[in-house]
């Protein structure tokens, strides 16, 4: 443990030199680079703050625009809803009118179809009735029915209206007037006599008579006097019934 003044002084100088050297080669460069980095970080932070401020401004602008758009959209939606409601009301009214028209048309159609169906049913019923009556009377036709039809003709002839009787007399007064007798079957002599007697009474004089058999008449007779025809046959009656029934429909 000894103090050497030379070493003491040299070490003081050495240390001061080392302080200068380290300041020159270590502290200053390192502090400079740290300062530059801090400056860069500060600059980056400032840039980031500026960017954040700009972003915030943009965000507020965006939110404002979004709010405006929302309000505009709400107004548009309300306007659209009003327009839709008005259009709906208009279309509903139009549809109601069309439905009423269609209902009326359908009712008319149904009525027409019902009438047609009724008419067809009537036709079918008449046809069935006519067919039934034709078959029934066809089976009932015979000499008895011929006689009865002859009786009916004689009775009708007696009760013939005056104007018809006059028309028959006019036809019978023609110079070539004759009687055309058509029967389903041959009449008996007695029946022919009764017929001729009744015609002579009605016409006031007798006429020559021609006879003809027509089985299609089924039963009864037909007497032609000029343009006139006195019919009391089953076929004529059925034909009269058919035409009468058709007219009634």
């Amino acid at each position: 443990m000894q103090l050497d003044w030379t070493t003491f002084l040299l070490q003081i100088v050495n240390f001061l030199v080392l302080v200068w050297l380290l300041k020159r080669f270590l502290y200053r460069p390192v502090l400079d680079v740290i300062a530059r980095r801090r400056e860069g970080i500060e600059k980056a932070l400032n840039d980031a703050r500026d960017a954040e401020a700009r972003a915030e401004t943009l965000r507020q602008d965006y939110e404002r625009k979004l709010a405006e758009q929302d309000s505009a959209q709400a107004a548009s939606m309300a306007r659209l809803a009003d327009e839709i409601a008005a259009e709906r009301s208009r279309r509903m009214a139009k549809l109601d009118a069309e439905l009423a028209t269609e209902r009326e048309r359908q009712a008319a159609l149904v009525e027409k179809q019902t009438a047609d169906a009724g008419r067809k049913a009537g036709d079918a019923a008449r046809a069935a009735a006519l067919s039934f009556v034709s078959r029934l009377l066809g089976r009932l036709s015979g000499a008895e029915l011929d006689r009865r039809l002859l009786d009916m003709l004689i009775e009708d002839l007696a009760t013939l209206p005056a104007e018809q009787l006059e028309a028959l007399n006019d036809a019978a007064a023609a110079p070539d007037a004759s009687l055309q007798l058509t029967t389903a079957r041959a009449l008996s002599e007695a029946d022919q006599t009764r017929l001729l007697s009744a015609l002579s009474n009605a016409l006031g004089h007798s006429l020559p008579m021609t006879k003809q058999i027509d089985p299609s008449m089924q039963s009864g007779l037909r007497v032609g006097i000029g343009p006139w025809m006195l019919a009391a046959s089953l076929a004529d009656e059925l034909a009269f019934f058919r035409s009468g029934a058709r007219r009634a429909c």
Partner: protein, 229 residues
């Protein structure tokens, strides 16, 4: 003077082993720093990160004790820490001895600390204002202040010298009496002790300097407070 430690002489100056070792340390540190800081980048590599970590830690330690004095005190305090740590660790190398195991070196460092306390104190408030704190709160305190300054400077020098010298002596003794790998724990203790002593010396220097600066600052604030009241 121990004639065995003289390496060579330059005229009347006898260059001792601690001085040569100090030069070697200075040369190594300067070259290392010059190379390391030649191409510093803003995006640092691992070595630059370590370098910035050392300098930044020293700067922050100074700033924590004396806010706003980090840059001003960094060269002196930082060099104290770095130089004493490396100088202490040199003793671990075979055939080398720590410069800090020599009283002249530690005394030189302690004197520099003593002078730097006054230097920074006077730079802060001026000579008159600085010296006036020696007679505060009463002129009777002047001898005690002076004794305190001298004793703490001596303590600085002797503490570092004693610790390093005793460690080296212990290591040599263990090497002499023990086997091949036995001194390894002693050398590990040497490394720890070297770093601790460097930290203590630098920290005490920082505390003394901050005491010199802050005594002026507290006195100034008291004067300002009295004037305003």
């Amino acid at each position: 003077m121990d004639t065995e430690s003289i390496i060579f002489t330059i005229g009347p100056l006898a260059i001792t082993r601690p001085v040569v070792t100090t030069w070697a340390v200075m040369l190594g540190l300067t070259l290392l720093c010059a190379i390391a800081t030649r191409r510093l980048k803003l995006d640092p590599g691992p070595f630059q990160t370590m370098l910035e970590g050392i300098v930044g830690t020293i700067h922050d330690a100074i700033d924590d004790t004396l806010p706003d004095y980090g840059v001003r005190l960094l060269p002196f305090i930082g060099t104290l820490w770095i130089f004493i740590a490396i100088a202490n660790l040199v003793g671990v190398l075979p055939g080398a001895s720590s410069p800090t195991g020599d009283l002249s070196t530690t005394a030189a460092l302690a004197i520099l600390v003593f002078l730097s306390v006054h230097w920074f104190g006077i730079r802060g408030e001026g000579v008159r204002a600085y010296l006036s704190h020696y007679v505060q709160p009463s002129p009777i305190m002047l001898p005690f202040h002076i004794i305190s300054e001298i004793s703490r400077t001596v303590a600085l020098a002797v503490r570092l010298f004693g610790n390093v010298m005793s460690l080296e002596t212990a290591a040599i003794l263990v090497l002499l009496v023990a086997g091949f790998l036995v001194p390894v724990p002693v050398l590990a203790l040497h490394i720890v002790e070297a770093l601790v002593q460097a930290y203590i010396f630098g920290m005490l220097a920082l505390v003394y300097i901050s005491g010199g600066i802050q005594s002026q600052q507290s006195r100034s604030s008291r004067i300002k407070a009295g004037a305003s009241s």
